[in-house]
């Protein structure tokens, strides 16, 4: 994605062009040369009365839940706790002035829509993550336009839990930026969300989820970049798995 932000008297102009839709390779460029923004297709104009010239670009998480799948479904035996690492796409928010005024908000790479629910009339519209759930952190590809969530799944049921698809409620999660290296990686500066803990009990379609605003364990030293979009309760019960039992 190439992004332009232009300040003129009485207005801000924001334009962007998308050269490719592959989440694995996309980057955000902010070129320095001036272009006639009005000639571009995707340009927005914002009329303002103040003279502020500062602009803030903030990454944040998606505005809907994100659904992710492992490359192959796997089972969590009864009584086991497994941590999976899930990637979700990042959005960008552009604010101007002081106090900050939100001008625009859009995904860095527009993810596909998907449906998550037991049938086609009960459920929720979500985004589909193009990356798979990983069991080992060293297998996770750290990208600047993606955030990683460590999800600990405790299977308290008496039967194995089959994991085929999982919905990540990113709207309840804050976003952090890690300063150091993540375990098993040489790159630094990855984005992380708070850790999630899910406890699955037999016969329950809704699973309780615990999350908090603390720094994620695997990120090391990290700074809060954006608070959660929805400040819900710390423990929420929701439908997270599409396939429950083997």
């Amino acid at each position: 994605m190439t992004l332009w932000i232009q300040r003129l008297r009485g207005e801000w102009r924001i334009a962007r062009t998308i050269e490719e839709h592959d989440e694995r390779t996309s980057t955000v460029d902010i070129p320095s040369e001036v272009t006639d923004l009005l000639a571009l297709e995707d340009v927005s104009r914002f009329g303002v009365s103040n003279h502020a010239e500062s602009v803030t670009i903030t990454p944040l998480l998606a505005d809907r839940s994100v659904v992710s799948s492992p490359d192959k479904p796997f089972y969590i035996p009864a009584g086991e706790t497994v941590t999976v690492y899930v990637g979700s796409p990042l959005w960008v928010r552009i604010e101007a002035g002081d106090p900050a005024m939100v001008l625009a908000e859009f995904p860095i790479v527009r993810p596909s829509d998907t449906w998550f629910g037991p049938n086609t009339y009960q459920g929720e519209l979500c985004y589909a993550s193009r990356t798979v759930c990983r069991l080992r952190l060293e297998d996770v590809s750290l990208r600047p336009h993606r955030a990683i969530t460590a999800v600990a799944i405790k299977n308290n049921a008496r039967r194995a839990l089959r994991l085929e698809r999982m919905k990540l409620p990113v709207v309840y999660l804050p976003l952090f930026h890690a300063h150091g290296h993540a375990e098993g990686h040489v790159e630094s500066g990855a984005f992380w969300t708070s850790d999630l803990t899910i406890s699955y009990d037999e016969g329950e379609a809704l699973v309780p989820i615990e999350y908090d605003s603390h720094t994620p364990k695997h990120a090391g030293k990290a700074t809060l970049v954006a608070p959660a979009r929805n400040r819900g309760e710390d423990n929420v019960a929701m439908r997270m798995f599409s396939s429950l039992f083997s």
Partner: protein
Amino acid sequence: MSEFLSRVQEYLADQRVRDVLKAVIIVVSGVVLSRVVARRLHLGALHAQQNMVIRRLGSVLLLIIAVAWALSELGMNLGVVLGTAGVVTVAVGFAAQNSVSNLISGLFLMAERPFSVGDIIRVGDTTGEVLSIDSMSVKLRTFDNLLVRIPNETMLKANVINMTHFPIRRYDMKIGVAYKEDIARVRQVLFEVAHENPLCLEDPRPLLIFQEYGDFALELQFSVWASRDNYLELGNSMREQVKRAFDEHGIEIPYPQRTVHMIAAAAPPPANPRPEPRG
């Protein structure tokens, strides 16, 4: 002033005047109360249309009670009044059968709620957005901006298709490809197009059905899902992208054609044969 007051006192001393005054106060109070109910009554557990019906019924009931009370204060025999009203009701009912049927059908529609204001519905050949659900009819706005009024009785009897009731919808595309094409390759191209289109839901997954061996093409149905808000945009973009992908991959979409086989036979007779000479 004192003369005026004494005159007023004289009038009020008369029982009939007092009764008329009482009746007027009762009717006015009833009208005011019924208007308050018509505007303010709201039961949170009910839908907007159901609240509207309750408000209307409530205000009419209050008016009837106020008028009956006022008539009884004036000394009228309510039994006679009710009997007359009953006869009039039967007569009016016969004359206004359709209207009453529409009214009652409207109550059933409001209770059942197969659609709401803002939904896109199809009734017979008419498709449009529901503008209002009234006591006698439903008003639709068609996509070419026409107003259609459908009596409630018709709505109750007809098959009503609510196209925006569920959050997601399936878009079916009929695609014909030439007989020479490899179906597996066509499937791969189609699924790639669906995968690249962000409006196409990843789940439920797209579906390809090989329907039949057509007269001049292999008939396929490619079904993709979208949210109801993006349904039209997905359909347009998918058709365009499938055509472009087929062109890029050299997949032919044939048009109707007939193969004619010429069979060699005896020479045809001349067009204008000479007549046989006589004699």
